[in-house]
Symmetry: none
Subunit: 185 residues, 4 copies
């Protein structure tokens, strides 16, 4: 069960570096150290390779986030745990995190709707803090996007070299900023 993983790892790295469309099957095969035909023994095609990477890691990361959130006692602790876990994940595997980020646009929408997503877990925790459907004077879904943006945008900034890594040390400060921004109590 190694070749398939090799292919997925190589694909994640190349996709993160150059984008999905610009990465060729030839490059993926070469990076994985196998021949091009081997890709098609493990995946129905390039699209399905992308989909499998996304849905697999999407679900795994969502479960990871859900785990740390469930173990935390208070709202504040849940928020803190989520942010920290996001940045741990980013620091652990920036390529994968990058792919998840840049795929929010096109290929992500092919993922089966029942798949749990990291963003979904995050939003659920924030929305649960809503009082009368409003958070900090904003509709709950809007507020949830704001919270999401506060976590993800620094990650994007670090890809562009505008923010220093690792991100994890800043997790608590970010959680605090979200807490204040959304006037949670």
């Amino acid at each position: 069960m190694s070749t398939k993983d090799d292919l997925m790892r190589a694909a994640i790295r190349l996709f993160a570096a150059g984008g999905v469309a610009a990465t060729t099957t030839r490059e993926i095969a070469a990076a994985a150290g196998v021949s091009e035909g081997t890709i098609y023994r493990h995946f129905a095609g390039k699209d399905q390779l992308v989909d499998e990477i996304l849905s697999q890691h999407c679900a795994a990361f969502a479960a990871e986030l859900d785990g740390v959130q469930a173990q935390a006692a208070s709202k504040w602790e849940k928020l803190r745990a989520l942010v920290r876990q996001c940045y741990i994940a980013f620091d652990r595997d920036p390529d994968l995190f990058t792919l998840l980020l840049i795929s929010r646009h096109a290929p992500m929408q092919r993922i089966p709707v029942e798949t749990r997503t990291p963003a979904g877990v995050f939003q659920a925790v924030i929305v649960r803090g809503a009082e009368g459907g409003k958070i900090g004077g904003l509709p709950a879904p809007f507020a949830a996007q704001i919270g999401l943006g506060m976590v993800l945008q620094p990650a994007i900034g670090s890809l562009h070299g505008e923010v220093e890594r690792p991100l994890a040390p800043q997790a608590d400060a970010v959680a605090g900023a979200i807490w204040r921004a959304l006037s949670l109590v």
Copy 2:
């Protein structure tokens, strides 16, 4: 000079919908109602078409933001004006805004560094509020990314149908959230 504009408008729409790499020159020409060869009468190639769209609108939007910011008196008013102007721009032309957002990855890096960017204006205003290089306990560039994320992520959310349009009515609430998040004074 209508054909060139038709091409740029068509390209913006298609790029926003499907990504730059996945959009073909054939599709652009068809959407603009001209033949494929006509593209090359107005642009040196697909890349240059992308670059021209980005740098042109990037600079224009940056100038627009800079204008409203310069006219505002206080820090708070500057922030409020920037957020509002962002959402006005989004509501006015979601396709263009989307393109600017999703292009932050590959083609954006071909833009000449001296070109002013919307994100740059935004960051400058926030960083200017820094005291001792720290904002709300975070390094200034990190805080600037957070502020940016608070504005942009709701826009992304609205593309996915998770947030209702128009966004402009929420501008003041978002500015307030940023103010609290970054503990600006």
Copy 3:
């Protein structure tokens, strides 16, 4: 309107010589004196090229047969005209005739059912001579196939070099044989 015809002619020749599956798009393009990509400007794909050749010539040849049959006065004259016209067509363009023959198996079944076929015209003329659904003691459709085989098999034989060309001089003798075989009156 020449390139498309060139491609179809080249394809007919190569298909007849080596079979449809064994003929590559590269070969077709080379034989037509154009580049490979040009095929796809005129046809959606190799399959559609095959289909268009078949249905176009199928319909044209069927119309040709129907014309000579309609102009003939008696049953005997109709039969004679059909056989002669078949062999004239074979002698005129053995490649095309060959393609029609060898395509009776797989690709022919993709042709729209409403398309008139040469075999259909032939069978109709024979079946019209049936008395009580029987011809020469055989069910009419069975007899029609026999008549068809008497015309086509010598053509196949000539492809294998077992029968001398041209075939047209034998047309009347073959018509006579069919007449006797099916005990038509």
Copy 4:
């Protein structure tokens, strides 16, 4: 030695249904319930698998035809026996018969010339009835093709659903038609 037979049976069925070139080794292996590599333990390659099927069954069927023909006393009885035996063979194994029919084009020509073919036996019997090289006013080889076509075309028609099976009950009527067509005595 069952695996080899399984492979040949599966291949015959698939070849008849979709043609030799369009049938992949993967499909053959799957239909035979073995792995792809196993094919190469029994055959040197796909071509040799085809060749072995064809020459084996070709020779066997030719011998079968020759047997019934030799046992028949008169010309008429020989013809009758041949036709009946052809249709018995078709009814017994339409896939194999179909393969023999449609393979008359490419792979058949790789069969060693000394191998006796069913068509050859058939033609020999008819040609032996020639008087002065002519049969029914036609060159003997031409007449032989006509006789062949009268037997084979109904088989093709039955593959297309235009003629009802089984064919054997019509054998005597077909033999009679050939007798009349070729004015044999």
